[in-house]
Structures are given as structure tokens and as C-alpha cells.
């Protein structure tokens, strides 16, 4: 979900995505590329190469229309899930105080 959110405002290249995700989560960076490839195969991303003057060529990931729809579903699900967890935490902590 996070890689899709990151690409929803603008296209990003692989390294940029990996860097941003690994800033926030403790995961092996190498496993983000399989995810990107899968989402591309499923039609949620298209990719294009851009040669850049400073440094290596960049493979950009662009969210497709399907990808956008899927992202919205995921975000909705996530919001519902996190609201539920928040509620359980709050109720649990209140009981602890009493």
C-alpha cells in the first residue's frame, strides 16, 4: 500500500521508493523490488526509463487507473482496520486505569 501511496502524487523511481519505505520500516530493502514487479504485472503500475545527466538511468513507476482504484480500496480498508485497533487500545487502557 505504501509504495502506491508514494506514487499517487508523482511518479517515482525504484531507489527513491525503496529509500522512503526503509526510512519508516525495518524491512530488507531487496524485498521491495519483488513487490514492485508484482504490482506492475498485475497492472497497477506502468514503468518507463529516464536517462539522467547526473547519474544512472532511472526506472520510474507510474500508478495506473486500476492502481488508483486499488489504492483507494486499500486505504479505506486500512482506515477501518486502524480505527478498530485504536478503539481496542483505548478501551483496554481505560479498563487498566479503573
Amino acid at each position: 500500500m505504501c509504495v502506491m501511496v508514494l506514487t499517487s502524487s508523482k511518479d517515482r523511481y525504484g531507489y527513491e521508493l525503496v529509500d522512503r519505505i526503509s526510512e519508516k520500516f525495518m524491512i530488507a530493502e531487496g524485498t521491495i523490488y519483488p513487490l514492485l514487479r508484482r504490482l506492475t504485472k498485475e497492472g497497477y503500475f506502468t514503468t518507463y526509463l529516464v536517462e539522467s545527466q547526473e547519474g544512472p538511468p532511472r526506472k520510474y513507476y507510474q500508478l495506473t487507473e486500476d492502481g488508483n482504484k486499488y489504492l483507494k480500496e486499500l486505504v479505506e480498508e486500512w482506515k477501518m482496520f486502524s480505527r478498530a485497533v485504536d478503539q481496542i487500545i483505548e478501551e483496554g487502557l481505560q479498563l487498566e486505569k479503573e
Binding site: C2, V3, Y15, A28, G30, T31, P34, P56
Partner: protein, 184 residues
């Protein structure tokens, strides 16, 4: 480990994939190394953060076989996808392999049953040799011909049913892999 070692290991572990796909994946990682170098990271650091090339390759391989199974709905490609998924987590042994063996076993036994039904008239024909009453032998033949018809229908039904089951199991496997990886 150096960059070349990492790339070589990854390439070796991706042997199941078609060469074009494999090189695409390798070039993604090479790009990653080049960008990291720009940012002043050493190869060792980059490799440590990327993680084990074997684990990475397993993910690509499982995804590839699953994609193949989705595309051609055949038992061999589903079997490959199932076995590739086993490498991703121990509990897949229970969640994937056990139901897979059960489902395949069940389908196989129905195929055997339909085959047996189809062959029963041969037994009835052979029985003419030792059956004293001709009327009884003809009756047996009649009954076994009906059985053979039922067997053929079962076989045709099984062909369709097993395709549906393969499709269903492929979806199940996909959902299972999504849960295991937690879809970041």
C-alpha cells in the same frame, strides 16, 4: 560480499525464470547499486540493507510460478507454484501443501473411478467365458455398459471440475502469499 557476488547469487537463484525476466530483475538491482553509490553508500552497506539474495530470489520465483499458473490453469504449473511457495515460510507446509495434496488426491481418485467404470464392460465380456446362463451374461453386459456411460460422464465432468479447482486453488495460493508477505 561484493556487488558482483550479490548479483551472481541472485542470478543463479533465479534460474527458473526466463532469461529476459531474469535480466530485467538484475538490471533493477544494478540500478539500485548505482543510485546507492551516488548517495555515498558502500557495496557492503547496500547488500546488508537489501537482505539475502536467496530470500529475494524465492519471492520472484514464487511470483513467477503463480503468474504462470494464473495464465494457463494447468496442474504442472500450479504444482510448481505450490512448491515455490513452500520456500517462503514453514507454515505454508500446512496451509498450502496439505490442502493441495488432499485436493489433487481426491481429483485423482475420481479419475481412477471413472476409468474403472469405463473398463467394466470388458469384464462382462470376459465373463461370457464362465457364465453358464447367457441371459445373465447379457444382463451383466447391459449393466456394465450403463456403468461405462456413467464413467465417461464422470470423466467429462471431472475435466471441467478439476479446471475449476485448479483456478480456485491458484487464487487461494495468491491470497495466501499476500497474507504471508503482509503487502507493504
Amino acid at each position: 560480499m561484493k556487488k558482483n557476488e550479490f548479483i551472481n547469487q541472485l542470478r543463479a537463484q533465479l534460474k527458473d525464470l526466463p532469461a529476459a525476466e531474469r535480466e530485467e530483475i538484475i538490471s533493477d538491482y544494478e540500478e539500485h547499486f548505482r543510485h546507492a553509490k551516488e548517495k555515498g553508500r558502500t557495496d557492503e552497506e547496500v547488500i546488508k540493507r537489501l537482505g539475502n539474495p536467496k530470500t529475494i530470489a524465492k519471492e520472484f520465483t514464487a511470483d513467477y510460478h503463480l503468474g504462470e499458473a494464473k495464465a494457463n490453469h494447468s496442474l504442472p504449473s500450479l504444482t510448481r507454484a505450490v512448491f515455490a511457495s513452500l520456500g517462503l515460510g514453514l507454515f505454508n507446509l500446512i496451509l498450502v501443501l496439505v490442502p493441495f495434496v488432499a485436493v489433487v488426491g481426491f481429483i485423482f481418485s475420481l479419475y481412477v473411478l471413472s476409468g474403472a467404470f469405463v473398463l467394466t464392460p470388458l469384464v462382462a465380456v470376459a465373463a461370457f467365458a464362465w457364465e453358464s446362463s447367457v441371459a445373465k451374461a447379457i444382463f451383466n453386459l447391459f449393466v456394465t455398459l450403463i456403468l461405462a456411460g456413467a464413467g465417461m460422464m464422470l470423466y467429462a465432468g471431472m475435466n471441467r471440475a478439476s479446471k475449476a479447482v485448479i483456478r480456485w486453488f491458484t487464487r487461494y495460493l495468491q491470497a495466501n502469499l499476500k497474507i504471508i508477505k503482509g503487502e507493504k
